[in-house]
C-alpha cells in the first residue's frame, strides 16, 4: 500500500481525467489499494466548484469505470476530490494551490506527499513545470516526497525531448520523474518479462538461432476523433511507434536484467534502443512504408479520407499508417527482423507481439504434401489479453496429415477476474515510488534518435506516401515489405 498523498491533476477537465485517471483511482479505492486519506485535486482553468467537479467525474466514472460504481464508496471517494481553478501561467494560482495542499495535509493526513500529474498539451509543460519550481511545490519536505507524472508526447523529436527533459530536470530529480506510457501498464506487457524469464522453455529459444522474425502490431479502427490538431503534426510514427511500440520491442528484445529494479530493467531497454540499426537516407524507402487512409468503410460504416477529416489540411502528408522493418544489430538478434506496423482506420482494434519461430527441416514431412505452419507465440496486449502458441499436430486417422492447432491462455477467464486498467497499475506504482513501468530520460531520447532519422528523410517531401482505403488492412506496399523476408502479416 502506498503512502497517503495528494494527487494534483493539471488539465483536470480533460478527457484523460474523465475517461482514465478518475475511474482508475476509483477502482483502486474499490479494491482497497488506495490509501483512504488520498486527496485528488483537479487543477484547471474553467470555473467550477468542488461539487460540480465531483458530479462531472461521477458521470464519467459511471460510464468508464470497469467496476460498477458503488454509491456508498463513491460518496466517500468523491469527498476526497477537490477542484482548484487557476490559469497555468499565473503564479498566484500555484501559491494558492500550495496553501490548499497544506490544508489538505492537515485535514486528511497526506503527510506532505505530492504527486503532480501533467495531463495537458505538451506546450503547457514548460509553464507548469516552471511555476511548480518557482512556487517551491517541486520541493519535498523532510520525510515527504514529491513526484511528477508526465504524459506523452515527450517532445516531437530529439531536440524538443532533450529540452523538455532539461525542464523537468530543473524541477524534479530523474528518480522522481515518471514518464507514462500506458502500454507498459497493461498486464500482458508486464507479463512479457515473466513469460521470458520465468519459463525455461522460452528464453533458451529467444534468439536468432530459433526465431525467424517478430511482428508487432497495433491496429485501431478509429480515425483522428477530434485530435486532428495534434495528430496531423505528430503522425503515426511519433504518436505510436516512438513510444508504445518501441517500448514493446524493447521488452521483447532486451537481455535479462540483473534484478527487477527499475534501473536494471531500463538499462537493458536502453541497450536495445542503442542497438537498433539506424534507418536513414535510401534505407528509409526500403525499410519503412508510410501511408494515409483514403475514404472507405470501417465495420460497414462509411468514413471520410484522412484529408477530409475536420481540421486536417487538405494537402496533409501525415502518415496514419506505418510499417517498418527494424533490425537489431546485436548478438541475440542479428538477422532477425522485427516488423512493426501501426495504423488508424484498420478493420479491428488489436495490439500484439508475435514471435515467429523458424521452420523445421522438411526431411520428415515433405511427402505429406502439407505446408507446415511455423510455431508462433502471440502475446496479446489488447483486447482480450492473453498468450497463444501455435503448433503442428497430426490429424487423427491412418494417414499423416498435419494441421496447426493453438493453445490459448486468456487472462480474463484464467484468473477469473477482470484485469486492472493500465492506469490503475501506473498510478499505484507512481504513488509507491516504483518507476519500473515508466520511461527513463535516456530511453525517450534514444527512441527519438531512431525515429528522427526516418523523419529526416520524410521531411524532404511527400514522395513515398502510400494510400489505403479506410477499413482495409493497409497498403500493398506494406505487404511487399514483409514479403521480401518471405513472410506475410498476421491475420488478426
Amino acid at each position: 500500500m502506498p503512502e497517503p498523498c495528494s494527487i494534483v491533476i493539471f488539465g483536470a477537465t480533460g478527457d484523460l481525467t474523465h475517461r482514465k485517471l478518475v475511474p482508475a483511482l476509483y477502482n483502486l479505492a474499490a479494491n482497497g489499494s488506495l490509501p483512504a486519506s488520498v486527496s485528488v485535486v483537479g487543477f484547471a482553468r474553467r470555473d467550477k466548484t468542488d461539487e460540480i467537479f465531483r458530479r462531472e467525474l461521477e458521470e464519467a466514472a459511471q460510464k468508464f469505470s470497469r467496476q460498477k460504481l458503488n454509491p456508498e464508496l463513491w460518496e466517500h471517494f468523491a469527498s476526497s476530490i477537490f477542484y482548484h481553478r487557476s490559469e497555468f501561467d499565473k503564479a498566484e494560482g500555484y501559491d494558492a494551490l500550495a496553501k490548499r495542499l497544506d490544508e489538505l495535509d492537515a485535514q486528511r493526513g497526506t503527510r506532505g506527499n505530492r504527486l503532480f500529474y501533467l495531463s495537458v498539451a505538451p506546450d503547457q509543460f514548460p509553464i507548469i513545470l516552471e511555476h511548480l519550481r518557482k512556487s517551491g511545490l517541486n520541493q519535498a519536505r523532510k520525510g515527504s516526497w514529491t513526484r511528477v507524472i508526465v504524459e506523452k508526447p515527450f517532445g516531437i523529436d530529439l531536440p524538443t525531448a532533450v529540452e523538455l527533459n532539461s525542464l523537468v530536470d530543473e524541477a524534479f530529480r530523474e528518480s522522481d520523474t515518471y514518464r507514462i506510457d500506458h502500454y507498459l501498464g497493461k498486464e500482458t506487457a508486464q507479463n512479457i518479462m515473466v513469460l521470458r524469464f520465468a519459463n525455461s522453455l522460452f528464453e533458451t529459444m529467444w534468439n536468432a538461432k530459433h526465431i525467424d522474425h517478430v511482428q508487432i502490431t497495433a491496429s485501431e479502427p478509429l480515425g483522428v476523433e477530434g485530435r486532428a490538431g495534434y495528430y496531423d503534426k505528430s503522425g503515426a510514427i511519433r504518436d505510436m511507434v516512438q513510444n508504445h511500440l518501441l517500448q514493446l520491442l524493447c521488452l521483447t528484445a532486451m537481455e535479462p536484467p540483473s534484478d527487477l529494479s527499475a534501473d536494471a530493467i531500463r538499462d537493458e531497454k536502453v541497450k536495445v534502443l542503442k542497438s537498433l540499426r539506424p534507418i536513414e537516407g535510401a534505407d528509409v524507402r526500403k525499410y519503412v512504408v508510410r501511408a494515409q487512409y483514403s475514404a472507405g468503410a470501417v465495420n460497414g460504416k462509411r468514413v471520410p479520407a484522412y484529408r477530409d477529416e475536420q481540421n486536417v489540411p487538405p494537402e496533409s502528408a501525415t502518415e496514419t499508417y506505418v510499417a517498418l522493418q527494424v533490425n537489431i544489430d546485436n548478438w541475440r538478434w542479428a538477422g532477425v527482423p522485427f516488423f512493426v506496423r501501426v495504423g488508424k482506420r484498420l478493420p479491428k482494434a488489436a495490439t500484439e507481439i508475435a514471435i515467429h519461430f523458424k521452420s523445421v527441416p522438411p526431411v520428415l514431412f515433405r511427402n505429406s504434401g502439407d505446408v507446415l505452419d511455423d510455431n508462433v507465440l502471440v502475446i496479446r496486449i489488447q483486447p482480450d489479453e492473453g498468450i497463444s502458441l501455435r503448433m503442428c499436430a497430426k490429424k487423427p486417422g491412418s494417414s499423416l496429415r498435419i494441421e496447426p492447432v493453438k493453445m490459448d491462455f486468456h487472462y480474463g477467464t484464467s484468473f477469473g477476474k477482470a484485469t486492472p486498467e493500465a492506469y490503475e497499475r501506473l498510478l499505484l506504482d507512481a504513488m509507491s515510488g516504483d518507476a519500473t513501468l515508466f520511461a527513463r530520460r535516456d530511453e525517450v531520447e534514444e527512441a527519438w534518435k531512431f525515429i528522427d532519422a526516418i523523419r529526416a528523410d520524410w521531411d524532404k517531401g511527400d514522395e513515398g506516401l502510400a494510400f489505403y482505403s479506410a477499413g482495409s488492412w493497409g497498403p500493398t506496399e506494406a505487404d511487399d515489405l514483409i514479403q521480401r523476408h518471405g513472410a506475410t502479416w498476421r491475420r488478426l
Binding site: A297, G300, P347, D370, P383, T413
Partner: protein, 354 residues
Amino acid sequence: MNAATVEFGLPVEIGRIDKELGRLWEESGDTKTRASLINLAIYTESAESMAANTELIASIAGEHACRALLILANPAAAQDSAKAWINAHCFPAGKGDRQICSEQITFQLDGEAAMALPNLVFSHLDSDLPLCVWWQAEFRKLADERLWQWVDRLIYDSREWTDPSEQFERVREIAACDAGRRITLCDLNWARLLSTRFAMAQFFDNATAICLLEKIHKVRLEYGPGFRTSALLLLGWFASRLGWKFQPMLGNAFFVSRKGVQVQVELAETEGGCVSLCRFDHDSATIEFRREKGSEYFHASLRGEGLPEISQLLPGGREKITDTLLSELSRGGRHPQYVEAFEVVRPLFQSSDR
C-alpha cells in the same frame, strides 16, 4: 432477400462482435467451453440457403470445433449495408454437464460491403488457425484480389457451376496468385468421389484386374441427375492416372492410352445417386462397379473368359453434402491429383453441365 426470416442469433454491431462474443461466454458460466480448430467461412448469395447452412454448421461443429462465419452477400444491391449476428453451437463433452461450443458469426452484406470480406469478415477470425472458405457462389473477378491471400483451404462444388470450364479457369487463377502457394483447392465434387476412387484403386490392386488396365477400350459411366460433372471428374481421375490423352475427332470423343489403344467413353444419366455404374470393357473381360440407389456400397465384379470371377463389396461413402464436408475437413491435406484430373476431361465440360 429477406434474411430476417431466418434465425441467425443475437444481432450485434460489427465493431462489437468480439466484445459481444466475450460477453456471451462470460454469461454462459463454467459448463461451456469455447473451442476452435479451424475457421470455417461459408459464402453464399442465396438467402434461401441460410437455414440449411446454419444447420450444416451445427452438424460440422459437433465434430470440428470451429469459428464459423456465415456470409450472405448481395453484391448487386443498390444500397451498401452490413449487419451481423452471433450465436453458438454447443455439444456435450463426455459425461457430466460440460459442453464444447463453437461460435457462429453471421453477416449479411449488401452492395460494396459484400466486396470487403477481408476487412469486414476476416477480421473476426480465430487467428493462427486455418481459414477454410466454402464459396457457394460463382467465382467472379473480385475488387479485392487480396481476398484469396487470407484463405488456406478454398472449398467449392464444381457440380454447382454453370460454366465449369470458365469457373475452373478462375480457380486456377486463384491458385496461381502470389499467396496461392499455400491455398489448397478443395472441390467437393472431387471429395465426394473419394470413396469411389478408393474402391476402384483397391479393386485394381488385384493381380488379375491390374493386368487388364492397359487394354481397356471402353468406359461406361452412369450418374444420377445433376451429377454429370462428378462422373466426368471420376473419368478424369482414371484417365490421368493411366496416362490417357483426350482426342476429339469428328464429333466423336475418345481417349488414347499410352499404348495407343482407343478408349471409347459413354456417359449416361440414369436414376440414382452420384455415380451408379462404372464399367470398363476389355477384349476378354468386363470390370463393373455398381451402386444401388441409397446404398453406401459398390458391388464390384470382374468377369471374363478364362479368368477367375472376382466379386467384392466396397465402401462407396455417403452422399450427403454434410458427410462430404465432414470427411474433407477430417482428412485435410492437399489434392495433388485433382487439377490434373480436371484438365484431362476439361474439353468434355460444357456450360450446361451440372
